[in-house]
């Protein structure tokens, strides 16, 4: 199975966290690393996007968005009925799993690059688009008939929150400047990308470790949920990617996007919009189980699925 050394840094972080080492990445460094990753991934997407006919992307984008909305809507009743979770918690978790994870996406891209597999550069646009609708659906599910939502605050939080802003900002700069204009920035934003991703994964490991302890409290249902949901979502993405005519790489990335759960944008938005939800449960599942599952087993699996459907389906 395909293996990408960068995930070893995540393991190191988990180990350090579990044994209670005093290792920690200072908060401001973590902030800087995320700003870097978001900008860099946006720039990469923007440069590649400049080579495409934008209008041709509208239809697939709408389809990918619409199908993506199935995920939170489908998992919500599962969480309420099978998981016996309270409405706000179920809605909040649904939003996390409907949204996407930039770091999971980056690890998938790293794997494709290592295996020298091409992919459509505009996948990054879908990454940006998919961050949003699930959050809105989550809030609606939580508040249906109950109290009022501060939509203004929420919309602001989501659209102008730093994740989306840096991704779209980077996308636009890359698009406007083009490969030529960006060249003097290549060494910072492109060549260092994977190294920075490694450091980021180290920190993610430290945080995931602190989540693993809390998981016992939530029991077998949540663990199962956090592993089965990404696999099913990835299957949905694989089939859709294949039907839309994406390459093997693109198909695998769409599957990864659907399979990934947000742990940056979603927690912040849900804490504001659905404060009754316990953040420990949703982040615990997304970061403590789904994220490690995806980077170690999920991504190689989705890669295999994408190749499989392209071989079998032609």
């Amino acid at each position: 199975m395909a293996f990408e050394p960068v995930v070893l840094f995540f393991l190191l972080g988990v180990f350090a966290g579990l044994i209670g080492s005093d290792l920690k990445i200072p908060g401001s460094i973590y902030e800087a690393l995320s700003i870097f990753l978001l900008l860099a991934i946006g720039l990469q997407g923007g440069v590649k996007l400049a080579e495409f006919e934008l209008l041709e992307l509208i239809v697939p984008a709408l389809i990918i968005l619409a199908v993506g909305c199935i995920i939170p809507v489908a998992v919500f009743p599962v969480l309420q009925i099978l998981g016996k979770l309270k409405r706000p918690d179920a809605a909040s978790i649904a939003a996390h799993y409907g949204s996407v994870s930039v770091v999971t996406f980056s690890v998938a891209v790293a794997l494709l690059q290592q295996e020298s597999v091409d992919f459509e550069g505009y996948m990054i646009v879908f990454l940006v688009l998919l961050e949003i609708p699930a959050l809105v659906i989550g809030v609606m599910l939580a508040r249906y008939g109950v109290g009022t939502v501060r939509w203004g605050k929420l919309v602001h939080e989501v659209f102008f929150g730093k994740s989306i802003l840096l991704l779209t900002g980077g996308l636009l700069i890359g698009f406007v400047a083009g490969a030529e204009g960006i060249k003097p920035l290549d060494i910072l934003f492109f060549d260092l990308f994977k190294g920075v991703l490694a450091l980021f994964l180290l920190e993610m490991g430290l945080v995931a470790a602190s989540r693993i302890a809390g998981l016992k409290t939530y029991g077998a249902f949540l663990v199962t949920f956090a592993i089965v949901t990404p696999i099913l979502s990835a299957a949905l993405g694989t089939v859709l990617g294949w039907m839309l005519g994406l390459s093997v790489g693109g198909t695998m990335l769409l599957a990864t996007l659907y399979a990934s759960a947000s742990y940056i944008a979603a927690p912040a938005a849900m804490r504001i919009a659905v404060p009754q939800a316990n953040p420990a449960i949703s982040i615990g599942a997304a970061l403590g189980i789904t994220f490690p599952f995806n980077i170690f087993l999920g991504i190689p699996l989705y890669f295999w699925m994408a190749r499989f459907i392209h071989t079998v389906g032609g």
């Binding site: 920690k24 908060g27 973590y30 902030e31 430290l206 945080v207 602190s210 989540r211 742990y263 927690p267 912040a268 804490r271 504001i272 404060p275 009754q276 953040p279 420990a280 982040i283 970061l287």
Partner: protein, 96 residues
């Protein structure tokens, strides 16, 4: 030099709420405030200041008793149930 007997209100809450609390206390009439970054533990669990757990802020407001009372009432109504929040008051002598 005249000194003035005032009330000091200390609010400890989630960093996430900073903008909203500041808007609130400014609307209710606070002339100023001081914020420091904090972390801690309470009934809403540990808030280590690491990113996914979130941190706390510690807000000091020096004002008269009535102002402090208004702020306390309003923050309790809006945030006490769902968010980490601790408030205490004490008398201080303002020196300038």
């Amino acid at each position: 030099m005249q000194t003035q007997e005032m009330m000091l209100l200390v609010i400890i809450s989630e960093s996430l709420l900073e903008d909203m609390i500041i808007d609130e206390i400014t609307e209710l009439g606070a002339k100023g405030y001081t914020i420091t970054e904090a972390r801690g533990k309470g009934t809403h669990g540990k808030r280590s200041g690491r990113w996914t757990q979130g941190g706390n802020i510690r807000i000091e407001v020096v004002g008269d008793g009535a102002l402090c009372e208004r702020i306390i009432q309003s923050l309790i109504a809006k945030y006490d149930v769902d968010y980490g929040l601790l408030m205490y008051t004490l008398p201080v002598t303002l020196q300038n």
